[in-house]
Symmetry: C2
Subunit: 316 residues, 2 copies
């Protein structure tokens, strides 16, 4: 793909092409976001008023939990209903710092001829604090481009990924029997942000026990009156068993949010998270270039931490 | 205690009184830090060039692991050697938002007549992002006041507490047999920052098994040549069994750092962490008051996340 026009000049045109459903324009916009190109900010400005229509689903689980297979089944089911589906997959284990990765290529091929499906993978290496911002921008892009469902798929480890999946309308936590997944989820704080629990590979031994453990832990938390009571669904993604139930629960959670007027708040929460992530990245970068001299001066009693903060950041 | 002078006016005088070893002045300074009073910044400025002498030890472990008993045994042992010991204990479960808590009072009483021991407890409620900054300032205060050892005792849960104990020269992770402590530690990411592992209540069943598990996990990590190989010590804090071994390992880690010229870097790391924490708190506060209008404007396509970041924060 050759593009001689500068990215910034291309932004307004790109927004129109994306709104018209042009897939190559969408791919180009994704690359701008991934590179943290300032043109993506302008581009999204044009699309922002069109956002808030997609149903954003976070799918998280440990490697090997089968969440990619599950995502594929979700895509197929939504497509059967005629809905358009966008996917942002975050892969922390990928050795590539950007662009398509193996799993992505395989899935890309499967949906290659279907313009109703758009999949983008993002490796976490080299992204650092910018990962959350980039992911949220990709979600806004797919939302503004008119996709009915946007799935964010991520391995649920680390605060940054919890922040990302927590920004979805509905978060699905995929667990598998054995392997200490349940314990891991509870300890990592990911349990608290899930709206739907999916015990995948439910044909393996230990699935019933796991369901009881999760139920017991959830009941301990004692939800408030009127609060969403997280369902536990058993699936076998490879055979499609239980997937209809999972989809029904995801839809029910969406209805729950809609009935309480909470969907707009979820959209606003994503924007807040995006600004917070950008702010944190800008600050880290400014501080990192100045910190060694500042630390030396503080230790010498020449300046103080508060004076350093004031010199780094002037409240408007 | 009546004080009619404003806190800011009292700061220089306070620094002199602290340097002279006056305990009430130290307690007053701790309160200024806990209240995030700007006078504490000035006060520490005067003491900062005196810092870097104390050995800072982080002691962390889940509730009930016996780390408070262990800390008390450490205090007693250091006192026998004639060393002065300062302790900052962080208690997330305390229902008090500040000041002394029950455990603190009991320990205070034990060391009441000993001016060589100073203990301050801090409840985490209402502290939020300011907790790390306040703790690091208390450590700097005790260091500048001439204490030979400063112990930071905290329940090892959550990123903020990991940041705190990670800022010590030597971090001791206290585990107990059974109860899934080992699994929890590995999952929570605290395992990686510990320099010495202490299996306390080692007279309980499962202690040997736990030692093997921890050793196995550490060996998997394959330390680099010349890196510190984390020792595993078995203790029974209530009888004092194994405590000498623990102290020897802590001292050996200090020697390891000193031999490689890393102690100064640890001191600088604490100052960096202090500024980072203050910066984050200042930013959160500014953003929180403006965010609802900003989110509305972004969604309307009137402004963008990057423009919002620029308006919140002007790079100097």
């Amino acid at each position: 793909m050759k593009e001689s026009t500068p990215a910034t000049a291309a932004a307004p045109d790109l927004a129109a092409r994306i709104a018209a459903g042009e897939e190559r324009a969408l791919a180009r916009a994704m690359t701008l976001i991934e590179r943290a190109d300032a043109a993506s900010d302008e581009l999204l400005k044009a699309l922002r008023p069109r956002t808030g229509r997609a149903r954003v689903i976070g799918v998280t689980g440990s490697p090997g939990s089968g969440k990619s297979t599950l995502t594929d089944v979700l895509i197929a089911t939504y497509r059967e209903a005629g809905d358009r589906v966008g996917v942002v997959a975050i892969d922390p284990s990928s050795p590539f710092s950007g662009g398509a990765i193996l799993g992505d290529r395989i899935r890309m091929m499967r949906w290659h001829d279907d313009s109703g499906v758009f999949i983008r993978s993002m490796a976490t290496r080299g992204q650092l604090g910018g990962l959350a911002a980039a992911t949220l921008q990709m979600v806004a892009l797919l939302d503004g481009a008119g996709f009915d469902h946007v799935i964010v798929e991520t391995v649920g480890v680390g605060q940054s990924e919890i922040d990302i999946v927590g920004a979805a309308d509905t978060t699905v936590l995929v667990l598998t029997p054995g392997g200490g997944d349940g314990v891991q989820a509870f300890k990592a704080g990911i349990m608290e942000i899930a709206d739907v629990y999916c015990i995948n590979k439910a044909d393996l031994p230990g699935a019933d026990r796991m369901r009881q453990d999760v139920r017991g832990a959830l009941d301990l938390a004692m939800p408030l009156d009127g609060a969403w009571r997280q369902p536990i669904v058993a699936t076998v993604a490879t055979t499609g068993s239980g997937v209809d139930d999972l989809l029904a629960r995801v839809a029910a959670h969406h209805d729950h949010l809609a009935a309480r007027g909470l969907l707009q708040e979820r959209l606003r929460r994503r924007v807040r998270a995006e600004v917070t992530a950008l702010l944190g990245a800008a600050l880290r970068s400014a501080w990192e270039s100045r910190q060694e001299q500042a630390v030396t001066d503080i230790l010498a009693g020449k300046t103080t931490p508060l004076e350093t903060v004031a010199s780094l950041w002037h409240e408007p």
